[in-house]
């Protein structure tokens, strides 16, 4: 498995032909043929539930295809486990990283290889990191690294093994724009060294910028397989959804801003490290969408928890009269859902106590299912009400949370990374929901790592650094650049206030 760098796209590293996979009676991947070429970056696109993750799982030996064949370097292979795929030179960076948090970077990288975590390994790791422009302290513990660095460790881990096919499932979903562009610079360097890179993304801008080739899945089938050259965002969106559904949010209206509904003054929370609140202040008004920008890990998560009222303050005050506060948390399956319960049950988790659910004591499973149906319809949840939430794709799970949280026109909505992992159409729909709530005189707080999203929906944008709100910029004056500078605490950014 030498990485012969002929440069020509004629001979693929890997060819997966006629791949098919069903779960129960549902065909999730249907006769897909896909090629990975050396020296190229391939973007794998498709709506939520299109079958991208399932296809990758089959290529890397996680799932066994119902039918189809894999040819790697001209040889037909059957992978019985991800280990076999690794041996054939195929590695995957999953969205939920597979690192051992209390182990050091070197230990994590050599784990499962014949190398020992010694100085030679560390030197090799530093060499790989330097080639890619990564800055990872080799002896730091993985649990002390920020998300972007952990991802870099995952990539180094694959390169350390000399793999020549790298697959990344939604690598940028957890990254800031700066981290994302750094990642793509590294991916390009990897491709240029003759390896084959494949990534999944819902962010079309980065696909247009970085991919050489795009393969689009729709309903488990390949609907486009072509060079990326000359394609723009709307071409891609059209390929994914198949018809001209609106993919841009309507221009935010000029809503009258109402009275103050929630005020946070010098709020601090308990905990260690940087990801706590440290004297943050903010005010939300009825009919207003407020954004929060910041490098991840600067207190956004505790801010969301505090505004939503589920985490107590150690000092400072939180004043609000509102009872109906909805919250779309960042960590959907870990916080927002119960994977072992059905879609219908998850949809009802906020309301089962209120009068709306019928009588004050009993729960009727039939009523539960009936109440779920219209929501499944309206929010395009791609499964039946009686299915367990854990069997949904990432985007499907996000839709369940959004459906539950926005359906009752909350007075305050806290939305943390509300469109993470959602395809273009669903993202647009979610943003529409946020604006609808503001139109109905609700207050919306949006925390997002996607600056374009903030610029699109917010009336004003707060910037967080070190657990404090350090700046507030009205939308009209905000630009990606000015926000980016403020996020890293640059005085130039301050000047543009």
């Amino acid at each position: 498995m030498s990485s012969s760098n002929t440069g020509g796209p004629e001979e693929p590293f890997l060819r997966a032909a006629g791949m098919t996979k069903s779960f129960g009676s549902k065909v999730v991947v249907d006769d897909v043929t896909i090629n990975f070429f050396p020296g190229k970056i391939l973007a794998l696109l498709g709506e939520n539930g299109a079958g991208k993750s399932t296809l990758i799982s089959m290529i890397c030996g996680q799932y066994r295809p119902d039918s189809g064949s894999l040819t790697v370097h001209g040889k037909t292979c059957t992978f019985r486990s991800p280990k076999d795929a690794l041996k054939a030179g195929i590695g995957v960076v999953y969205q939920d990283f597979r690192l051992v948090p209390p182990f050091s970077v070197v230990e994590n990288v050599v784990l499962g290889t014949r190398s020992r975590p010694n100085r030679r390994a560390a030197a090799r790791i530093e060499e790989i990191a330097a080639e890619l422009g990564f800055q990872v302290p080799t002896h730091a513990l993985v649990q002390d690294l920020v998300v972007g660095q952990q991802q870099q460790v995952e990539i180094i881990k694959l390169l350390f093994r000399g793999l020549d096919i790298l697959i990344l499932d939604e690598p940028t979903a957890v990254l800031t724009p700066q981290q994302s562009s750094q990642l793509f610079t590294a991916l390009r360097a990897i491709a240029d060294s003759g390896k084959s890179v494949v990534f999944v993304s819902h962010r079309l801008a980065e696909v247009v910028e970085s991919a050489d080739h795009v393969t689009v899945l729709r309903g488990g089938r390949v609907v486009a397989d072509q060079p990326a050259h000359g394609l723009n965002k709307s071409d891609l969106a059209l390929l994914m959804v198949g018809d001209g559904i609106a993919t841009t949010t309507r221009a935010a209206r000029n809503r009258p801003v109402g009275h103050s509904v929630l005020r946070l003054k010098n709020a601090s929370t308990a905990g260690q490290g940087r990801d706590v609140l440290n004297g943050a202040s903010l005010e939300l008004h009825a009919g207003e969408v407020v954004g929060v920008a910041g490098v991840s890990g600067n207190g956004q998560r505790p801010l969301a928890d505090v505004v939503a009222g589920i985490v107590p303050l150690t000092s400072g005050t939180r004043e609000t009269q509102e009872e109906r506060i909805a919250y779309i948390p960042e960590d959907r399956l870990g916080t927002g859902l119960v994977g072992s319960m059905t879609i219908a049950q998850n949809l009802q988790m906020r309301d089962y106590r209120s009068e709306k659910s019928g009588n004050p004591w009993w729960i009727n499973p039939k009523t539960l299912l009936a109440q779920a149906e219209p929501l499944i319809e309206e929010f395009h949840i791609p499964a039946a009400a009686s299915i367990k939430v854990s069997a949904l794709s990432g985007g499907g799970q996000q839709r369940v949370i959004v459906a539950r949280e926005v359906r009752d026109e909350p007075r305050i909505l806290v939305a943390s990374q509300p469109t993470r992992g959602l395809d273009v159409v669903s993202s647009t729909a979610v943003r529409e929901h946020l604006l609808d709530i503001a139109d109905k005189q609700g207050a919306v707080l949006v925390i997002s790592e996607d600056l374009d999203e903030l610029l699109e929906v917010c009336d004003r944008i707060l910037v967080m650094v070190g657990g404090e709100v350090v700046a507030e910029v009205p939308r009209k004056e905000a630009t990606r650049l000015s926000l980016g500078l403020l996020m890293v605490g640059s005085p130039d950014g301050e000047a543009s206030q």
Partner: protein, 370 residues
């Protein structure tokens, strides 16, 4: 290099049919391995198993004995299973059973002249309350200062045993048998027997009713819904602002009450007196029953009766000069195969001599990029 032509393939998901077949597979394998053990003890496995079956289901007495023992197993199994719904480990069903029987005894000795039905109901209520209170001693520190309930419930078993010993040697001792480990007998109208001349004992019927009520409470009430949320994902419970402390306390109280009910049944249907060995390890076997029944509360009566038959059948082997511990061996084997089966069910076994390009055909269970 390949050692064996077998390899494992991880499954995408376990189908529910496969999950349901798991206990049956485990029981069958347990009996097969048990047959080997019997063979080596010089007994024909077939004869032994037939004997066990006859002794537990084959005759009216056998059936009654099986049902009598099933009742406490069903209830302690239910007590453990319901606590597990909140991810709580109630190892203390043994002690709660003891306290339940002590509570019932207290009623019997305080109002010995009440008519039978009233007396039985009052004693049952006392058993429920005593079991619940005993469980609360562990539940309250768990809810408030997060003190591990496994340790506390376990230790409370020993204290319960001392308490009952004190009662039977002290205030409630039998004047006719001073120094013996049992109290004076409960009044005759407090004894429960079989129902309407059938082999069904009132204890087993009562315990199945308890299972049905508990199932209904979990699946059909709002309280049960919140328990499922908190048990399924505690962080989601916090996010939805559910009161986990109150649920820990209520679920443990119910768990203790159910085990206390087992104490009431033991007292009224089996021993007729309070005695320290009234729990007879049922609290611990209940953990196995809950485990074998898996996620389904409704399976508990089936498993309870099965375990009871296993124990009952084990005693019958003594007649053949064998140790009754064969039933303990079988119980252990079955639980072991459930554990193994749980892992095996997520894999697909395949046979193949074709060598892969890997150095070994065996799959590391932590395979992948971990």
């Amino acid at each position: 290099m390949k050692l064996l032509p077998i390899y494992l393939q991880r499954r995408a998901a376990i189908s529910s049919r496969r999950a349901a077949l798991l206990p049956i597979f485990a029981i069958a394998t347990g009996f097969i391995v048990g047959a080997v053990v019997l063979w080596f003890s010089g007994v024909s496995p077939l004869d032994a198993y037939l004997e066990m079956f006859n002794a537990s289901f084959g005759s009216a007495q056998g059936l009654t004995a099986t049902f009598i023992r099933a009742a406490p197993l069903i209830l302690t199994g239910l007590a453990v299973a319901i606590a597990l719904r909140m991810q709580l480990w109630n190892i203390g069903a043994e002690g709660q059973l003891l306290l339940g029987s002590a509570g019932a005894t207290f009623v019997f000795f305080t109002w010995p002249n009440l008519p039978g039905p009233i007396l039985l109901v009052a004693a049952a209520v006392a058993a429920l309350i005593a079991g619940a209170l005993w469980a609360l001693i562990a539940a309250i520190p768990r809810a408030t200062i997060d003190l591990n309930e496994i340790i506390t419930t376990l230790f409370l078993n020993y204290i319960a045993l001392r308490l009952v010993s004190f009662l039977v040697y002290g205030p409630w001792q039998d004047p006719g048998a001073i120094g013996f480990a049992y109290s004076k007998p409960i009044p005759p109208q407090g004894a429960m027997g079989t129902i309407w001349g059938t082999d069904l004992t009132s204890g087993v019927v009562l315990s199945i009713v308890c299972v049905a009520i508990t199932w209904w409470g979990i699946e059909r009430t709002r309280w049960g819904f919140s328990v499922k949320i908190l048990g399924g994902n505690p962080r989601a419970g916090a996010y939805l602002r559910l009161n986990a402390k109150r649920r820990i306390i209520s679920i443990m109280a119910i768990s203790g009450a159910i085990a206390g009910m087992a104490g009431f049944i033991q007292l009224t249907a089996v021993t007729g007196r309070l005695q320290p060995d009234i729990a007879a390890g049922y609290g611990y076997t209940g953990i196995l029953v809950a485990f074998l029944a898996g996620r389904s509360l409704l399976m508990i009566p089936v498993v309870g009766i099965f375990f009871s038959a296993l124990i009952q059948g084990g005693y019958s082997l003594q007649a053949q000069g064998l140790s009754s511990s064969i039933s303990t061996v079988l119980q252990g084997l079955i639980v072991l195969f459930i554990l193994l089966g749980g892992v095996a069910a997520t894999y697909r076994f395949r046979w193949s001599w074709t060598s892969s390009n890997s150095s070994s055909g065996m799959v590391n269970l932590n395979s992948g990029a971990r």
